[in-house]
Symmetry: C4
Subunit: 278 residues, 4 copies
């Protein structure tokens, strides 16, 4: 039994370092992880650059192996330090961790550059892990809340924008015709989205006077209605500022891995397991 | 008389399914309608794509016939289930329903691809029917209200923007001249709208130093005044948030087809006819 | 004396029609004026279009003469109906009225198309007269107030934007060099304004990796700081909504031509002359 | 000792003129400085223009010498009039003043146009001195405060935007491939930033249907989330409006050069030295 307690303590210790950011060692681990993820993303991006690739090939190749081995050990540590490994393995971040680690191993078994390219790009999914770490920053919580609260309204608004773009795009297809680059209704709708959102590439542009008049109306409208989502978020955000925000910490339950416990909580709000506050 | 009552009940039942979304059958009908409209819009858009058209011609042709026949039956059902058919037929949505259904029938009598193109595009008007269905979403009501309330101010603002564009466009026409692409005052005004709304196609761009200086001033101004409509909508929306919003449902009066009755209303607010709440 | 009184009454009547919009005749006069100004602006814009010009030359030529003669009579009526003509003649709108009326007369004495082009464009100054008429719309007063109140802050903000553009433009000039289209510091600053305001013509675009990185930073910054003027106007506008707005009418003093008298005022707030409320 | 007092008074006088803007002489000195800085910036920008350079070379050359000599004397005056020169010399503005003054002297010792170009551009750093002078404008203090308060949130937001751009850019790289101009992941991410911020150069644009669909989604998203920073600044600014703002003046302590003393303060808030209010 003593032996068992010892084992549990050892696994709890590992759990605390990997899953939580409240202890010095946990913070240090998160910082190391953050740096390795950022380096890894920069290396994957560099790999795709043609000229650069030849010159720094050796460096990128060995760096990628070192990082992949680190992430492999980290993945194994995450699985063994938790009581119910299945919960982590099949969670969103568990899948991200797995999928972003295996591409290098897969590259041994795969032939054909096209499929390999996609597989190798999977390593960029590690960027989601940054979001997991930065989740603990108070500001991003407030921001995420403001976006979440106004999500329904902004989606309805964006849906209305798409409907307007389909109608206006079809009109432009009839007015301008295929000689001006408005080759089909989908292309015209694409042009209309490019114009209404004020992006304006210029690869397709109206050339007939009536087409230019309609385009001007679409632009003026886009300039006028951009105010709508802003008004919504402003109001939601101002309302959110007033509501009390409960302080949660990054502590994770060693039994069910649930997070966001209130400061001073003694039991997991999800499974009732004791939380170790050391 | 019993026979008459039976007929009325049968027509009331149909009326409830087609015109209202409060009963399970009514909701089911609306969802089927929504899916068919969306499919129909995607098919019309696909039809305009050149390469795709040849390959999937057969599929699109038969699909369009099935959808058109469904909409034809639906139109007839709408006309016979209402007490005063003229009220529906000459309403905005009645005309939309009619005009978006007939193009396929008209295509038998018309020759000449150009006119036919426009007629076939009329089927896209079905998109307005989505707006009719989505009208019941609470969020879109609030959004529509916010836009409606600030409409007058935004129109005055956009009018001022157009006046500024006419003055600045004329100046650019004089400064840049026809060699730089500023071929006429209307074209210059069009360019000015493209610039002020920050779309910026780049098909016309100033080349003289003075023209570029004026263009820079227009951009800076456009960047500064985009705040004005936003401020208006924000204020209107924040004010709208505070005012009480009466809950209305989608029930339509079987006598006059008036809608937006308050929850629990027993008589039509328009004609005083009894509302059937079953 | 009776004769003199009669004359004053006749001139007062004319003054009321031309300068005020509270009587039916005054409103009718304003509407006629508005239509003629709009027609006139459309004609001037059409005149600059090459192909159209040849075809509709005769029509535009005679229309312009009719409109110019109307504006000439209107100008004379404005001068004789006011007690102190100098006050009107040297006011902003007096100069606009004069300068926008004479171009057609001047075209007899001038030779050389380039100077003539500028002179003829002066007719477009009539657009300012629309602003004078639309001044009476309540919404535009509120809008003008909101812009006026936040003018100082927006100017300081735009000044800061220009300073940022000069620094970033110089950096881009050094990084990209003249081969990429960044030919001089002013051109680079112009490009930077085009980018920061999210217009993005694409006539000049960075091609070196470091240039593209800096450009991305400028864009991200532009995307982030566009919020600043919006926040200012929103706050000013919300504050302005609360303050009481005094109702003013369009009545002009027949002595000093001062306007914006409060409803029910009996004497001019500027010179103390009696106001005729009939 | 009397001699020493006299010296101190003479240096205090100079200190007041150069470092403060509360006395007429101090204000006059600031205005002269502002004009010279602006002229200097215009001259540096003109120098880079090719055609202009040859024509006005002589004028620009002598002007630059006059301005540089003035700034040299000003720098020396700033150093000798302060009690602890090291504090000024190694402050941000001290370094700016030094670095923006020496380029002309350095140009004697340097050969090679490329390095010289960068050194000469250092003179543009004088623009930061405008910010130092304009710091005393109340509006810019409020603006700076609003930006400062919402800085953390906007940075978190912009970081999230960059993460989204890396993910979407990689997707576009896989979808569009190198033939469409998406040559590498960094280039694709750059394109994605150009699109999301609604700049839209058009030098790179998607050509495949799936690429255009994804691009449309990115634009719609960019159009929707631009509301987020605006909502943040609006809320911060509105909150800032309510908080009391203490009036500070431009007086600088002659001992430690600390600034922003409250109106009517008699001793430096930093070192306790007497402030001379004459």
């Amino acid at each position: 039994m003593n032996q068992k307690l010892h084992t549990r303590n050892w696994r709890d210790k590992l759990h605390e370092i990997i899953y939580e950011a409240d202890t010095p060692l946990g913070k240090f681990f998160d910082v190391i992880l953050l740096i390795l993820i950022l380096l890894s993303i920069i290396f994957v991006m560099m790999e795709s650059v043609k000229g650069l690739h030849e010159k720094t090939y050796q460096f990128l190749y060995y760096s990628e192996w070192i990082i992949t081995i680190f992430f492999t050990f980290e993945y194994i540590a995450r699985v063994i330090s938790i009581k119910k490994p299945a919960k982590y393995i099949f969670s969103f971040y568990g899948i991200i961790d797995f999928v972003s680690t295996i591409p290098l191993y897969l590259s041994f078994f795969m032939v054909g550059s096209s499929a390999l390219l996609t597989v190798r790009a999977l390593r960029l999914l590690r960027i989601f892990r940054i979001l997991k770490i930065s989740r603990y920053i108070g500001e991003s919580n407030k921001l995420a809340k403001a976006i979440k609260d106004s999500r329904a309204k902004i989606l309805v608004f964006l849906f209305a924008v798409v409907v307007v773009c389909i109608i206006a795009g079809t009109l432009m297809y009839i007015i301008e015709g295929e000689e001006s680059g408005f080759k089909s209704i989908p292309i015209s709708v694409y042009w209309c989205i490019v114009t209404l959102t004020t992006v304006g590439y210029g690869d397709i542009a109206p050339v007939t006077p009536i087409g230019q008049l309609l385009a001007a109306l679409i632009m003026i409208m886009g300039y006028g209605i951009i105010a709508v989502p802003t008004g919504i978020v402003s109001a939601e955000y101002a309302a959110g500022q007033k509501s009390a925000i409960v302080n949660v910490n990054s502590q994770a339950c060693s039994n069910c891995n649930a997070r966001k416990h209130q400061d001073g909580a003694k039991f997991c709000h999800n499974c009732g397991h004791t939380l170790f506050n050391d």
